[in-house]
Structure formats: C-alpha cells, structure tokens
Amino acid sequence: MDLAFTTYLVVGFTFAIYIGIAIWARAGSTKEFYIAGGGIHPIANGMATAADWMSAASFIGMAGLIAFMGYGGSVFLMGWTGGYVILAMLLAPYLRKYGKFTVPEFIGDRFYSDAARIVAVICLIICSVTYVIGQMKGIGVAFSRFLETDYATGLYTGMIIVFFYAVLGGMKGITYTQIAQYCVLILAYTIPAIFISLQLTGNPIPQLGLGSTLVGTDTFLLDKLDQTVQMLGFPEYTTQTRISTLNMFAFTASLMIGTAGLPHVIIRFFTVPKVKDARSSAGWALVFIAILYTTAPAVAGMARLNIMQTIEPSPGQYLELDKRPDWFRNWEKTGLLAIEDKNGDGRIQYSADPESNELVTLDRDILVLANPEIAQLPNWVIALVAAGGLAAALSTAAGLLLAISSAISHDLLKSTFMPSISEKAELNASRGAMALAIAGAGYLGLHPPGFAAGTVALAFGLAASSLFPALMMGIFSTRVTREGAVGGMLAGIGITLFYVFQHKGIMFVADWRYLEDWGSNWFLGIEPNAFGVVGAMVNFAVAIAISQWTPAPPQRVRDLVEDIRVPMGSDVVHVNH
C-alpha cells in the first residue's frame, strides 16, 4: 500500500472515532456543556488533560527545539511539567471546591467586581486566541504535508471535525474525544521513538537509550553527539546554555506559572467529582504528559545524531548529492529543508559556519514528522505520526475553544449582561459562541496576523502575569481587594506586553519595535519569551500594595475564601450574588 493511501486510511479511521464520540456524547445541560456534568473519573480526566495540554507545539515542535538547543531546551521540559505541581497544590483543589464553571467566574466572585471578571475574560480571550491560531496552522500544515491537500482544505476539514464534537457535546464531547486523541498521539510519538532507540542503542526504552552506548561500540550516545556537534563547530550538546543561567531560570519559571494559569487547563479540573480527585487527577495528567515529555529529549538527541550521520556517514565522507535519501527530497518540496552545493563538489557539507554550510535550511519542525522516514520505518508508522500530529492539534484547539466560548456565553452573557436568561437559552448561546469561536479561529488560521509568531510569548506571558497571580491571591489571601486585583492584573499584563512589544514590535509587527530584538537592552539579560515571571512579580506587588490602601473585602468574600480551603461540602455554594 502506498503512503498516501495508508495515511488516508489511518487518519480517516481516527476521525470516524471522533465523530462517533460526538454523536454519542451530546450535552443536554449547561453543566454538561461547561464541565461535562462534573462526573469524570480522575484518571480519565488526567488523560484528557494531557491531550488538552499537549498541542501541536509539544508534539511536533518541542523535540525539534531541544535537538537544536541541547541542554538549553530543558526549559520547555521542566517549565511545561513543573507547572502541574503548582496547579495541584496551589490552584486546582480550591477552584474545584468553589465548584463553578469558568475561571473569570471565580475572579469575578472572589473580587466582588464585574470589572475584575471582565478583565479576566479579556486576558483569557487574548491568550487563548493567540494559542489557538498555532493549532489551526498545525492542522493545516499536517494535512498539506501528509494528505497532499492544500493548506485551506486541511484547515476546513479540521474545523468541521472540531465543530461536530465541540458544538454538540461541549466539554462532555471534548473530554471523550480528548481521551481517544491522547491514545492516538501517544502511540504515534512513542512507537517511532522505540524503533529509533532500538536501532541506535539496542535499548527499546528511549529514556534509557539516550543514556546508553551506541550499538556495537563502547561510546555513549550523548558523548558521540557532543563530539559530532563540536566537530561541526556547534556548542556542546549537553551543556549548551540558553543565553544565561538567569535567563534559563526566568524562562523555566515563566513557563511553569504560565502553565498553571492557562484557563483551558484549569477548567479541566472542574470536571472531576471531588476535591481529592482534583489533586490526584493533576498527578495522572502529569504521568500521561511525562510519557511524551521524557521521550522527547531522546527523540531530539537521536534525531540530531541521525541527521548528522546521514550527511556525514564517516568522518570526512560527506553524502553525495545524487544519493540523498527519499525523505530528503520529500521535505525539500515543502521548502522546510533546502541544500545548496556551494563548493560544487557534488556532496553536502553540514557545518555551524554559515559560509560553508550547505544544508541551508533545516526547519526544526520537520524533525518529529520526518523521524520515521529517516529511520526507514514502515508506512503505517508514518501514517500514525500524521494522525498523532492532528490529534494533538485538534484536542488542544477544542479545549481552547471551549474556554473562549464559555467565557463569552457564561461570564459575559449570563453573569454580566443578561443574568435573567434561562438555562436552555444559555446552552444555545454557548453553542452559538462555540460556532463563532471556531469560525474566528479558522479565519485567523487562514489569514494569520503578524502577531501569530509571538504566540508562545504572549499566551504564557499573559497567563503567568495576569491570571495566575489573581487566582493565587484570591485563594491564599483574604485581604487582597478588588482594586488590588484589577490593578495587579492590568499592571502585570501591561508590563509584559510592553516588554514583548519593545523587542518584538508593537502587535508583533517587527518594524514597530523600538529596541533591537536581540541584545543589550534586555532587562537583566532576560529574553522577551521569559518575561512572564517578572510580570507576575509586578502583579503581586501592585495588588498587595493597592490592597493596603483600599477597604478590606466584605465578610461574605472572606467566608468564601475560608470555605474553598476545606474540601467538605463541595456541593454547597455559599455566596449569593
């Protein structure tokens, strides 16, 4: 069977499963639409959270980043997992106890203010929308590469699938499809990794393979990798720092608190029955995430070595241009891989020196996708990787779209502007908001605005600097006031946007930056992507300072805070508003 046919078969099969779930898991009430009825088992929720969390960036992008950043890429591994410890201890159990539907709802009630609720909705929408654009692009790219459709057709197909289960089933449909999507993506990620680890080291467990010796030698894989990259003039793989130790520290911290503050992740913990389930479910989520995240560094190191050994099979013996493998030619067609025989010797030289380097383009994103081809794995494995990439992008897109649509239908419509609408009307409104959100995300995926490139910086920076501090202070302090919370959120986002814009351009239009992108004007040498932690500290400081000068929160709010700290009686809601 040829590759295109196999890929259609595998991807078509997974899509049939998602649609089947959509028809089976329709939502009949707002509680089902927003939080899947609140009865999801903690292990099932952990699996759904893992799919919700691991996006196209985790599945396709991360191993490629690590492969070229070496040790410096560890910021993503620690940052995107360490956030779950914060979530499990500092946020999830208390927000679950609070027992409502959305993140802005908690902020609005705890800070007894519609202004705080609306600021939270705005933060949520900005960070979720920038994030969802990346997923839509991922869907379009995966389709166009593997199914040989054009980008737009791929995007529309993805939108229709998401429309089916997200509009019909809300959180209920999304939860069950995410569980199926997790199974697809984790198989797609680990199977090629196991094969490649076996080929290189003889050890089937990639996490151990990365620390093993190469087959038939006494040389450790990582030592060989260090030697090879250094011979080509690159920095040593296992010690290559991302800019500076302080920058790595700030980057890791920003990703951790950004992770804990992302609304589409937090709302997943509203779907479990009890407070104790929210705690353990975070642990299960991290187990399922860790299966991919501990495999990723092995994929990264092994793929980097594989590519270099393809080009230079033995020292000084470079690959002949005419004998380059098929996967090389396939990826050249996409423009993500390009070679230029500069010295005209008919061979490909790869080097850190841009003057003599002949592998002129090597896009980081192709690493995971090309991995099975590089390792000469059978077609069904390549097809599975395509289905896995699509599952990762679809599951995250659906989670983000639910966070956006519930903020619109519940926090803006029901809680702020039309408190009297019936449940049935709200359910219809939430379906309408979901359909609009899908259409909007699709439009932005087709016409990505200039700021799409800054997705990661903005989404994590905003979540870290606005929502996380407000949530944490809402739980851990009875003294922080509405003025403090609103001031803190605005100051936190404000300074983070200011810093990102000054180096990346206003609204990420590069011509509009007023300081250089890369360089000496960085605050303490911290890159814009890593600035969220500074924004968060500003948020905390401003909120606490303003709270000293404004009247203490009313007694009912202090009672609410005392109440969410204790699991007992999580069915009872004490606050009337």
């Binding site: 690590i66 040790y71 890429g73 560890s74 591994l77 620690m78 997992t81 360490g82 779950y84 410890v85 499990a88 201890m89 500092l90 159990p93 996490q207 151990l208 990365l210 620390g211 093993s212 010796t213 450790f220 894989l221 990582l222 030592d223 296992t238 010690t239 130790t245 790595m248 520290f249 890791t252 911290a253 009890k274 407070v275 104790k276 705690r279 353990s280 975070a282 642990g283 991290l286 187990v287 860790a290 995240y293 501990t294 560094p297 005392e562 109440d563 700290r565 204790v566 699991p567 007992m568 009686g569 999580s570 004490h574």
Partner: protein, 89 residues
Amino acid sequence: MSHLSEASAREYWRRNKALMFKLGLIWFAVSFGCGVLLVDVLNQIHVGGYKLGFWFAQQGSIYTFIALIFYYSRAMHNLDKEFNVEERD
C-alpha cells in the same frame, strides 16, 4: 456552612501550607536547583551516559514532579480524614 471550628480550620490550613512549603522546596531543588543553578557541578558526575545535571534537567525533575503530586494528594487525603473534612459521597 462547615462544622469546622475556627481554630481547627486555621490549624488545617496551616498544616496544608507547611506541607506545600516542604514539597515546594523539593520542587525548586530538583528543577531550578539541580537542573539550572547547580547543573555544572552535577555534570561532573556521570550516571551511565548521562551527565547528572543534564539528566535532572531533561528527565529527573519530571519524575520527581509526579512523585510530589501523588505524595501531596495522599498526605492531604490523610489530613482531610484527621480533621474530618472529607467530602460526603
């Protein structure tokens, strides 16, 4: 309203915070400590093909995070029982 007296509610919250602080120290030590600040020192030690600091940054910290969450979850479950604040079925 909860049946918990104010004094025992305060004690429950204090015990919870003490536990978070203790686990938070470990969380900080394995990631920011072993994985970032002390990475060069730990890299002098080799475990198999891994330099130890590199291993903490790309593997060890993640395994520790999992253990921390499950430990917290179990310890809090016991604390809930001790203060009789578990949720009813």
